[in-house]
């Protein structure tokens, strides 16, 4: 069963009508062809209308849509089943909220790393809701260094409501782990592409988010804080999340406009989950093209460009 967000109600209604019409056509002699055609046209029109006028808060909701594909689904699709997951930070444990390993993309070995959310209640807990602990960030760094050693490009897939704010996370240095990753990613000798595929919350996202290309899928968000937390801190109430979502300029379009990300990868009409195959194809095409381009630059220049890009971010007088 598909899940519908509140603003998707008109879409749900039409899709149910189409289903009903098809059922009638199957079980009776009545010809429903024209009706179905008409409803389907209406559906395309309605979906296009709704999705071309989404508010920032609706984009945030879409980024968290329960049917949205998560990191492993992307990697499986991109590597055609050649992905081999690698585990552990060689220090404390294996963090289930952060996954990584090599896989073949278009015949070439690529290191994939990303936060992993769970697909059902049990798995959500197992994956700690995509909130990594320090050992997750340290595993990610270990794998990035491994890729660097063997001169393989790195693709990170970002989807996290934040780094885990737990007691043990603090004991084991959550701040240090994220800081170290940011510092080291700046200096990696191999091409790095970072793609926000869902939620890009603050330091938890940036901890695997420093690259030559930092890009967002169309219906994702990336900012320094979630709209809910921003509302509770600045407005001292949870009621202003929609206002906060607008104020933070956290959509892919705004982030691109403000030159805080390099590109936006378009999603199929209705969002990534409505046509995952088309969505994965878009992402794959983007990565292949970007990697080909990045490989033309020598490593030293690539690192300089990467640092320079981040240094240009900011507004002052």
């Amino acid at each position: 069963m598909a899940t519908y967000l509140e603003f998707e109600a008109p879409i749900q209604e039409l899709e149910e009508q189409i289903l009903k019409a098809k059922e009638i056509a199957l079980t009776t002699e009545v010809s429903m062809e024209d009706t179905i055609k008409e409803l389907e046209d209406k559906l395309v029109q309605k979906t296009t209308d709704i999705f071309s006028n989404l508010t920032p808060w609706q984009r945030v909701q879409l980024s968290r849509h329960p049917d949205r594909p998560y990191t492993l689904a992307y990697i499986d699709a991109l590597t055609g089943g050649t992905f081999q997951e690698l585990h552990g930070d060689r220090n404390v444990k294996d963090d289930k909220a952060m996954i990584g390993g090599f896989g073949l993309l278009d015949g070439q070995s690529v290191m994939f790393i990303g936060q992993q959310k769970g697909i059902n209640t049990k798995m959500r807990q197992y994956r700690n809701f995509g909130m990594a602990n320090p050992e997750g960030y340290r595993k990610a760094l270990r794998l990035m260094k491994l890729a660097e050693k063997f001169n393989k490009p790195i693709v990170t897939l970002i989807d996290t409501p934040g780094a885990f704010p737990g007691l043990e996370a603090e004991e084991r240095g959550q701040g240090e782990a994220i800081a170290r990753n940011i510092y080291e990613m700046m200096r990696l000798k191999v091409p790095v592409i970072c793609i926000v595929i869902g939620e890009g919350a603050s330091g938890g996202a940036l901890g695997i988010g420093v690259g030559d290309k930092v890009v967002m899928l169309e219906n994702t968000w990336y900012s320094v804080i979630s709209p809910e937390s921003c509302s509770s801190i600045l407005w001292r109430s949870w009621e202003y999340k929609e206002t906060a979502a607008s104020a933070l300029k956290l959509t892919s379009k705004d982030m691109k406009k403000n030159k805080l990300v390099d590109d936006v990868i378009p999603e199929p009409v209705g969002g990534a989950h409505r046509n995952p195959q088309e969505n994965f194809e878009n992402v794959k095409k983007y990565i292949i093209k970007a990697l080909a381009e990045l490989k033309k630059t020598d490593p030293k220049k690539r690192i300089d460009d990467r640092i320079e890009k981040f240094c240009e971010m900011g507004v002052w007088k």
């Binding site: 603090e170 800081a179 700046m186 990336y222 804080i225 801190i233």
Partner: protein, 281 residues
């Protein structure tokens, strides 16, 4: 990102009181309640003589304590924040900036300066908590980045004194990317084999902890400072029980391996100068 809570608790009062209080008045230690004359307290570097409580101080005081004869050249003193997102919460960001500049006499949450410490060149970037909770915005990132360039040019040792509630939400994505910017610059400093000393003071949390504060060649801290990634309130809510005694203090971080040493304000100049000498002799 916990700055406003802190403001509410009245932690920013000390500098203000000093400004508004005529000489010869009293200072009461918030920890042990001992009363000192303002002069005694200042001469004791804003540390309680009885219980050793370190009062929060800002760039003005640290520059005076650390630089030889209190002399230094300030860098990029006039840089001020823009309002790239046209941000407004309960107050317009531009109004918040204006009133903060007026009330604190500061331009933003960091001041950078070049001077000498026991004759050795040192560039310091010192955060000011009084300025919107020491939050990390574009100006903080840019001034630190330029200070690092300056240290490289002058072959000077570099130090950041962190004191921050974390990100500046009113600059959202711009604020976040300052973490990457400063970290990238620190890598360039490292290439020149110039030492970077990170000095963590009360409080150092959020995005500052998750970037430059934890990246020192050595990380040092004042006693009993609050240092963490997530604020204590958030951690408490996450785990659903009381936090252990001393959680997220300097002493806790030293014990868990994230600090090289803790130094009392009285010994700060001597120890820091010695560290730099050991790196550079």
């Amino acid at each position: 990102m916990v700055w406003f809570k802190r403001n509410k608790e009245g932690i920013t009062t000390s500098t203000k009181e000093k400004k508004e209080t005529p000489e010869g008045l009293w200072h009461k230690c918030p920890n042990c309640k001992t009363v000192f004359t303002e002069n005694e307290f200042i001469n004791n570097l804003y540390v309680c003589d009885r219980c050793s409580h370190h009062e929060r101080i800002g760039s003005k005081e640290y520059f005076e304590i650390l630089f030889d004869e209190g002399k230094f050249k300030e860098l990029d003193a006039d840089l001020v924040s823009g309002d790239p997102l046209n941000f407004s919460d309960t107050k317009k960001y531009t109004d918040r900036l204006k009133s903060t500049i007026k009330n604190t006499g500061l331009k933003d949450a960091v001041r950078t300066a070049h001077g000498k410490i026991d004759g050795q060149d040192l560039v310091i970037a010192c955060m000011d908590f009084n300025f919107i909770g020491g939050s990390l915005g574009s100006v903080v990132g840019e001034k630190i980045a330029r200070a690092i360039d300056h240290a490289i040019k002058k072959k000077a040792a570099f130090m950041i004194i962190s004191k921050s509630g974390g990100a500046r939400m009113m600059e959202a994505g711009y604020s976040l990317m300052q973490m990457a910017k400063v970290s990238g610059k620190l890598g360039q400093l490292a290439e020149h084999q110039l030492p970077y000393i990170s000095f963590l003071t009360d409080p150092t949390t959020g995005g500052v902890t998750a970037s430059y504060a934890m990246l020192g060649d050595i990380n040092i801290a004042e006693p009993k400072a609050l240092i963490g990634f997530a604020g204590p309130r958030v951690v408490k809510e996450t785990i659903g029980r009381e936090l252990p005694e001393g959680f997220q203090t300097s002493e806790f971080l030293l014990e868990h391996g994230f600090l090289d040493y803790i130094v009392e304000r009285h010994h700060l100049k001597k120890e820091l100068s010695h560290s730099i000498r050991l790196f550079r002799s």
